[in-house]
Each structure stands twice: as structure tokens, then as C-alpha cells.
């Protein structure tokens, strides 16, 4: 499964550092599709689509984070411990930085709330989407619809992240 070679991972939001330390594998969805980062990955800059970011720890176990859009940067030859991360960046010198405006650790997600939000958002999207289509003004993006769709997606991502934790115990 995961490579033995650990590298440095940092998942940062404007309010705080959500996750830092070493990882053996990071899976996330960029603007061009799902990507798995391992140690020694080519330097890369990309967008992160809303979704679940999976960070495999070298000591085993996977941390799941719900990320609502952001950016990712992969760097090479980062001097070990150049950041607060310090501890065990590994010898690889690879650093993966994920910047997200909004993100939550799976265990911090209020599943109940997300489910309620999902239930609220679904009919709203259907209703707004339906009316927009019937009025035939599909070109003009309706702010309310966009808002509702974003809410729906946020709820889905949260649920996906938190539910996956429940089953991925093994």
C-alpha cells in the first residue's frame, strides 16, 4: 500500500494549521482529476476541488479532511524541519502544502448538522434549478442557485469525509 518513504504534509486554513507532520501518501482531487502524491513527486502547483483529502500517515492510519476548495503545492528539496512541522519530515525533502479557505478534519465534523444541511439544500437546488430552467434563462447564473449548490456540495463533502472515517477503522 503506502510507500515507506515519508514526506512533509501541511494542511493550512487562514484560521489555523489544520494538519501538519509527515505522510506517506496524500490523495486529493485537483482541477484535472484525482492525484496521489508520494515522496519525490515532481514540483506541482494546482487547484484543489471540493472533496475529501486523504492523508496516509507513515505509522499507519488515514486522516481524512473535508476541503472546500483551495490550492496545493508540491515542493522538492525542502530542508527538513524548515517549518513548524519539524518532526519527521523524512529524508525525502518533499513537502506538500494544501491551502484551503475552509476545511475540517473528519472527526470534527458534525455529521448530524451536515445531514440536516444536505436535506435542506437538496430540495432547494431542485426548486431553484427547476425554475431557472423553466424560465429559459439558463445563461445567467442565478446567485441563489449557485449559493444553494455550494451549500449542497459542502454538505456532501462533509458527509463523505465523516462517514468514511466510521468505516475505515481497519
Amino acid at each position: 500500500m503506502a510507500d515507506d518513504n515519508p514526506f512533509q504534509i501541511e494542511l493550512v486554513t487562514p484560521e489555523r494549521i489544520l494538519l501538519t507532520g509527515s505522510a506517506s501518501e496524500v490523495i486529493l482531487r485537483t482541477g484535472e482529476g484525482d492525484v496521489t502524491f508520494l515522496a519525490g513527486h515532481t514540483p506541482l502547483v494546482g487547484t484543489v476541488e471540493p472533496g475529501v483529502v486523504r492523508v496516509a500517515r507513515p505509522e499507519g492510519g488515514v486522516v481524512k479532511v473535508a476541503v472546500h476548495g483551495g490550492f496545493v503545492q508540491v515542493e522538492q528539496d525542502v530542508p527538513a524541519g524548515s517549518d513548524a512541522a519539524g518532526e519527521g519530515a523524512g529524508a525525502s525533502g518533499t513537502r506538500v502544502t494544501v491551502l484551503a479557505g475552509v476545511a475540517e478534519l473528519a472527526e470534527e465534523i458534525d455529521t448530524e448538522r451536515a445531514r440536516v444541511a444536505l436535506e435542506g439544500a437538496e430540495p432547494r437546488v431542485a426548486e431553484l434549478g427547476g425554475s431557472a430552467r423553466s424560465s429559459g434563462e439558463g445563461d445567467e447564473p442565478d446567485a441563489e442557485l449557485v449559493e444553494a449548490e455550494a451549500a449542497l456540495r459542502r454538505a456532501q463533502v462533509r458527509l463523505e469525509a465523516s462517514e468514511a472515517t466510521g468505516t475505515a477503522g481497519a
Binding site: E10, V12, T13, P14, E15, R16, I17, T30, G31, E32, V35, T42, P43, L44, V45, G46, T47, F71, Q73, E75, D77, D83, A84, T97, L99, G101, V102
Partner: protein
């Protein structure tokens, strides 16, 4: 009459004492909040730095597309100005100095024939610019106490849209930088196009200035330019620019909050001290007034007694004054 003065003074002392209690409470509250505001600045720094790194990296990847997004535009005909102040007063010259800097900027723009659109954060700005008859395109309130990233996004969406649509050539921000607990500075600086982190270092030699582009990690030359971009650097830059500026706005809001609290603490400490001085001064005047009253009363009694004795004709010719009060 003298007794009346004493009563007035006593009333005034009482009122100053209760004002002092309020100012002292405000001072303590501000002091306790500064710590939190400062730690939020520190917590926001990794994100800002990461953003700077990514922007730099991407800009190197496609210098042509970066042209509009980085550096100072050559011709400026329209600008958007964002002025950040507090929702509340009672913080010394904090709001005033930002207003002054904003007015200076607007006056300079006007003189050079540049059109400007004004955006503000803080309730105090609404009143100020309305009174001056200066139209404000959009003003935001209710976030100066504890700005969240969502607040920053909201402001950014309004302020950056004209730039993204190409309606303005430059976005400026006037706000107070929190350099340290002892030093804050009002600054007008360019928000968009992004200040190139590479020449920001020469322009602002403040090594440990919290949360600024100039704290960009000095790995500018390390890049060898074989970085992959997903999607293309040019497309990436389009989304990156506003996101980076939004991060800058967030940092500016956090710093403004810390500065506001520091200014308030200082102002309230001065007010508390001043109230103490006043109380001392008025107590002194009041005590003298009371003593004067007593002295006058004694004099009245003495002379009254004297007069009575003189009236009985029992004059012994001497100046024996004997009083029993």
C-alpha cells in the same frame, strides 16, 4: 453659597469616579482581547506564506500571464480604495488616522485625474464619509471586533470584482498594520495587482512584519522552473490572484483588529489616569471649600458672640477673645 459649591464638587467627583470605572473596565477588556487578536494574526501567517509561495511559483511558471497580476500597473486611470476602520470609537486616534490617510490618497488620485471607487469596513467610516459627502460604493460593518475569513471573503468579493472585470486598474487598501504591541502604522498599499514578493523585500525592510508579503520565504531563486501546473499557470493565476488578495484582506482585517484594541487600551488607560487626576484635583478644591465654610462659620459665631458681649456694655477695654463654640 460656599456649601453649594461643595455639593456641586462632590457630585462631579462621583460622576468622574463612575466614568473611571467604565474606562478601566474597557481598558482591561481591550487588553485581554489583544492577546487573542495577536494569536489570530500568528495563526493566519502559514496560510499567507503558503499563498505567497504558490503565487510566486506560478508567476515564474508563466511570466506573461503574471504581468497583469503582479507588480505595479504602468497606467492607472481607475482605482478601487478599501479603507479599514473600527465599528466603535473610544480608541484614540485610530480611526482618524486611517481617515486622514484615505483622504490623502483620494486627494492625490483626484489631483492626478484618477477615478476612484471607495469601499469601507467599519461603522465609523459610514458616518465619516457620509458627513464629508464622499460617496461610498459599499460599506461593511460588524466585523471589526472579530473578523472571520468569511468576512474577508465577503469584502474581497465586492472589492476585487471591479478589478477582475477590468473596471479598475488597481486596488488599494488603507489600514493599520500591527507591527508589534508597541507600534502600529497606518499604511496605504496596493492589494491588486499583487505586490511582487520579490521586490517587496527591497521596498519594505521590516523583517518580522507579521503577515505581509515581505515575509515571503527567501526561496525565490531556488526554483528551477520544471514545476507542473494543474491546470495551466495562466488559468491558475486567474483564480489565484483574487484568492491571494482575499488572504491579504483577511490579514489586514486581523491586524486592524489588533491595532484597534491596542489603540483602545492605550486611550482608555490615559482616560483612567486622567480621571484619577481630576478626582484628586476636585477633592482638593472640595476640601478647601469645606474648610472655608467651616472657617467662615466660626468667624460668624465669634463675631456674633463678640457683638453680643459688646452690646451688654461690659467692656473691659481689652481684646480678650474668648470663644466657646
Amino acid at each position: 453659597m460656599a456649601g453649594g459649591q461643595e455639593r456641586i464638587l462632590r457630585r462631579r467627583i462621583k460622576s468622574i469616579t463612575s466614568t473611571q470605572k467604565i474606562t478601566r473596565a474597557m481598558e482591561l477588556i481591550a487588553a485581554s482581547q489583544i492577546v487573542r487578536a495577536q494569536s489570530r494574526i500568528v495563526a493566519s501567517r502559514p496560510y499567507l506564506q503558503g499563498m505567497t509561495r504558490i503565487v510566486l511559483e506560478t508567476a515564474l511558471g508563466d511570466p506573461v500571464a503574471a504581468g497583469r497580476l503582479l507588480g505595479t500597473p504602468e497606467t492607472i486611470s481607475k482605482v478601487a480604495v478599501l479603507s479599514v476602520v473600527a465599528d466603535r470609537g473610544l480608541c484614540g486616534g485610530y480611526n482618524t488616522s486611517v481617515f486622514r490617510a484615505t483622504e490623502r490618497l483620494l486627494a492625490a488620485d483626484e489631483a492626478s485625474g484618477v477615478e476612484f471607487r471607495l469601499f469601507t469596513v467599519g461603522k465609523k467610516a459610514q458616518g465619516y464619509f457620509r458627513f464629508r459627502g464622499q460617496p461610498v460604493e459599499r460599506s461593511f460593518t460588524g466585523m471589526s471586533e472579530r473578523p472571520s475569513f468569511a468576512n474577508a471573503r465577503e469584502v474581497a468579493a465586492a472589492v476585487l470584482a471591479p478589478f477582475v472585470n477590468g473596471e479598475v486598474d488597481q486596488v488599494m487598501i488603507v489600514s493599520t498594520r500591527f507591527l508589534s504591541a508597541g507600534s502600529q502604522r497606518v499604511e496605504a498599499r496596493q492589494l491588486l495587482p499583487l505586490v511582487d514578493p520579490r521586490d517587496a523585500e527591497q521596498r519594505a525592510p521590516h523583517e518580522d512584519e507579521p503577515g505581509s508579503w515581505s515575509t515571503a520565504p527567501e526561496d525565490g531563486d531556488r526554483k528551477s522552473g520544471y514545476t507542473e501546473f494543474e491546470p495551466d499557470a495562466a488559468i491558475l493565476l486567474e483564480t489565484l490572484g483574487p484568492r491571494a488578495a482575499e488572504t491579504e484582506i483577511f490579514a489586514a482585517l486581523l491586524q486592524a483588529t489588533a491595532s484597534e484594541l491596542t489603540a483602545r487600551q492605550r486611550a482608555m488607560a490615559a482616560a483612567t489616569d486622567n480621571a484619577g487626576e481630576l478626582i484628586k484635583k476636585y477633592s482638593r478644591i472640595m476640601n478647601r471649600a469645606r474648610q472655608d465654610t467651616i472657617t467662615t462659620e466660626i468667624m460668624e459665631i465669634v463675631s456674633g458672640a463678640e457683638a453680643l458681649r459688646a452690646g451688654t456694655g461690659d467692656d473691659q477695654g481689652g481684646l480678650v477673645i474668648e470663644t466657646r463654640v
